[in-house]
């Protein structure tokens, strides 16, 4: 175990994979530059050579197809996009080739590759540097989609993704890169699928993923201090979804609140609500609820992001409402010590 940041954990996962298996390669815009993709690839080229760790042209679609070909040829590629938004250029290769290769060739081959995508937020990222489009990937048969919250999970899921047999979309929220946590050393793997339970309680099931799980944890702790007990299920994987864990909690609590950093309509939160109402209807004591990003892109001005994001106070307030208890959530707001459009004091821009 070592205490490290989420970015360091990813770097550690990449280095571990590169060390374990010469077929692992790692590329993407800026992977070898002095910033090393927010620190996640720093020093890898020096250690593993520029045949295995390299920069690339601005050509997201072809570079995805190249990863697919490389995977079919026996390599284990990790492609990194500094923003998910840029990967929209590669949806054809991701969906028509990577996701379907195994199926459309009758199981005779598959394209095991990892596509890291970083999701921006706040500080002027604006409409095309902040999209949380994980619901898109989660809609596609043949893909696996993970969105780790904690450094250990980031490392462990990354190693499982790299050494698995499937194309995996690996989603990293920018606001998590500096979050710190105990992380196992060496070849540590977290299976893709099972969720993690971050908090326990019998009154309400909160389902969350990524950075929102941190907000949710604040809310759950605050609620606990106020006599309300929440299960907090951190999904880790958005495809497949750990529906058994949600069901087990829901039959106990009877109340379901799902959080989602993506757009409201057609998001993953909706999918979970739909599934719950369809398959666990009788367990529901009250209407299930979701808190998601609004149905609008994130604007650039800090004046326009304040009301945009779901934060701990909204979660606590909604939980209280679902339980019919009155609760002043103001302490959750006033204890926050940094600007609303940054993940912490350390962040000063420019991106």
């Amino acid at each position: 175990m070592a205490e490290m940041s989420y970015a360091e954990a990813i770097r550690d996962g990449l280095a571990t994979a590169l060390r374990l298996d010469p077929s692992v390669i790692c590329y993407g815009l800026g992977v070898t530059d002095p910033k090393g993709v927010f620190g996640t690839t720093l020093g890898l080229e020096a250690e593993f050579g520029s045949d295995r760790v390299f920069d690339m042209p601005t050509a997201e679609n072809a570079m995805t197809g190249i990863a697919i070909g490389a995977a079919l040829g026996g390599l284990r590629p990790v492609l990194t996009h500094q923003r998910l938004d840029f990967a929209l250029l590669s949806m054809d290769q991701i969906v028509n080739n990577a996701a379907k290769w195994r199926f459309m060739f009758g199981g005779s081959a598959s394209a095991p590759l990892v596509i890291r995508m970083i999701l921006g937020r706040g500080w002027g990222q604006g409409p095309t540097h902040s999209q949380n489009l994980h619901a898109w990937f989660a809609h596609i048969p043949g893909l696996k989609v993970v969105m780790p919250t904690r450094p250990a999970d980031a490392k462990g899921l990354l190693l499982s993704a790299i050494f698995g047999q499937d194309p995996v979309i690996f989603l990293e929220q920018r606001w998590l890169h500096n979050a710190r946590g105990e992380t196992p050393q060496g070849d540590y793997r977290v299976p893709i699928g099972p969720s993690a339970q971050l908090h326990s309680g019998d009154d309400l099931t909160v389902v969350s993923s990524g950075y929102l799980s941190i907000e949710a944890l604040h809310a759950a702790q605050f609620l606990a201090a106020n006599g309300v007990g929440c299960d907090l299920i951190d999904l880790r994987s958005l495809r497949p979804l750990d529906l058994p864990a949600i069901r087990a909690s829901l039959v106990r609590t009877g109340r379901l609140l799902v959080l989602d950093s993506g757009f409201a309509t057609g998001g993953i939160a909706g999918e979970i609500l739909a599934w719950a109402s369809e398959t666990a209807f009788s367990a529901l004591k009250v209407a299930p609820a979701r808190l998601t990003a609004p149905d609008a892109p994130e604007a650039t001005s800090p004046a326009l992001t304040e009301a945009y994001h779901v934060r701990a106070e909204h979660i606590a307030a909604r939980a209280a409402q679902m339980l019919g208890v009155t609760l002043d959530v103001e302490p959750l707001v006033s204890r926050r010590r940094f600007a609303h459009d940054t993940p912490g004091d350390w962040f000063k821009g420019p991106f």
């Binding site: 190249i66 995977a71 199981g107």
Partner: protein, 320 residues
């Protein structure tokens, strides 16, 4: 003997595709099917320069490339019939062919979609210090796609062992080059400007194709980096399906007849003696008979296979 091998390769393609055309109306081959009749020389000539260790990818019109590369004819026909012995167990159909033993990695149905895949295969070959090459078969329309340029740029940048083979048959579906590319465009010259070594040749002359291809493949094996070959040729039948369609208005009967006069098969037959050709014809017809009999006899895949092969550990279920 090179001529006989080339002729055999072309005749196998021609014969199986003529049979597909003949029997397509039975409605047992229920998938969009793009025939290569008229274009066989490119596939045959290029693959003559390759070994089974070399890799290839293609697009929607892939029967010829798959067969010339050594793909199983039985598995091809069974795939068209949607049978479990098809090369994709019936999941892919005519546009999705694969035979890894033969080095035919795969064809897919999105124009341009396998171009980067072929480049990625070349990247793997290079990393593995293999001396095999990766071949990307593409049509003239595929050179209009952005992914072609992105892929070529990377192949040149990294000096990858990849051979791009462009079959310029003047049309994309029913659209002539004139509505898609500027007048005077020479595709191989564009390729050259991107940093590829590029040449063009007569795509209806199998020996000429084989000559250019073996030069290009040797150059790649000698580390000269990616190469591009453009071959002019012509598809005889409709874009998709079994019929002739010179009457519907997008091209003329005269144009078709001029190209038919350049049929690559008689051109090569003229160099061989009649007895050998007779023997070959019989052998090929028999192989085709066998492939169709095999396909007809093969079982359909079980219904549950509609929901398998999604990821390494998940099967779906009907009606979510």
């Amino acid at each position: 003997m090179a001529e006989l091998d080339l002729l055999t390769s072309m005749k196998r393609i021609r014969a199986v595709e003529e049979r597909i055309a003949l029997r397509y109306g039975e409605q047992k081959m229920r998938c969009p099917t793009h025939l290569s009749i008229g274009q066989e020389a490119v596939a045959a000539g290029v693959c003559a320069a390759l070994t089974a260790a070399d890799l290839a990818v293609s697009g929607h019109r892939a029967h010829a490339h798959y067969l010339a590369k050594g793909g199983s004819m039985r598995a091809l026909v069974a795939e068209l019939y949607g049978k479990v012995d098809g090369c994709c167990r019936g999941k892919g159909g005519s546009m999705h062919l694969t035979d890894r033993a033969a080095g035919f990695v795969g064809s897919t149905a999105i124009v341009g979609g396998t171009i980067p895949v072929g480049v990625g295969l070349a990247l793997a070959l290079k990393q593995q210090r293999s001396d095999a090459v990766s071949v990307v078969f593409l049509g003239d329309a595929a050179t209009e796609t952005g992914v072609f340029y992105e892929s070529v740029n990377f192949a040149v940048l990294k000096t990858l062992p990849v051979l791009f083979v462009c079959e310029n048959n003047l049309y994309s579906v029913y659209s002539p080059l004139s509505v898609r590319q500027p007048p005077g465009r020479e595709i191989h010259r564009v390729a050259q400007a991107l940093g590829l070594s590029a040449q063009s040749g007569d795509g209806n002359d199998a020996l000429a194709v084989a000559g250019l291809a073996s030069g290009a493949v040797s150059a790649i094996r000698n580390g000269a980096g990616p190469q591009f070959l453009e071959f002019s040729t012509y598809r005889w039948r409709e874009h998709c399906g079994p019929n002739y369609d010179n009457d519907i208005g997008y091209r003329t009967e005269a144009e078709f007849e001029a190209w038919r006069a350049c049929d690559p098969i008689p051109k090569l037959e003229a160099l061989l003696d009649a007895v050998r050709i007779e023997t070959l014809n019989a052998k090929v017809e028999q192989e085709v008979d066998d492939a169709f009999a095999f396909a007809e006899m093969s079982a359909f895949p079980p219904e549950f296979e509609a929901f398998t092969d999604l990821t390494s550990d998940v099967s779906g279920a009907a009606h979510g």
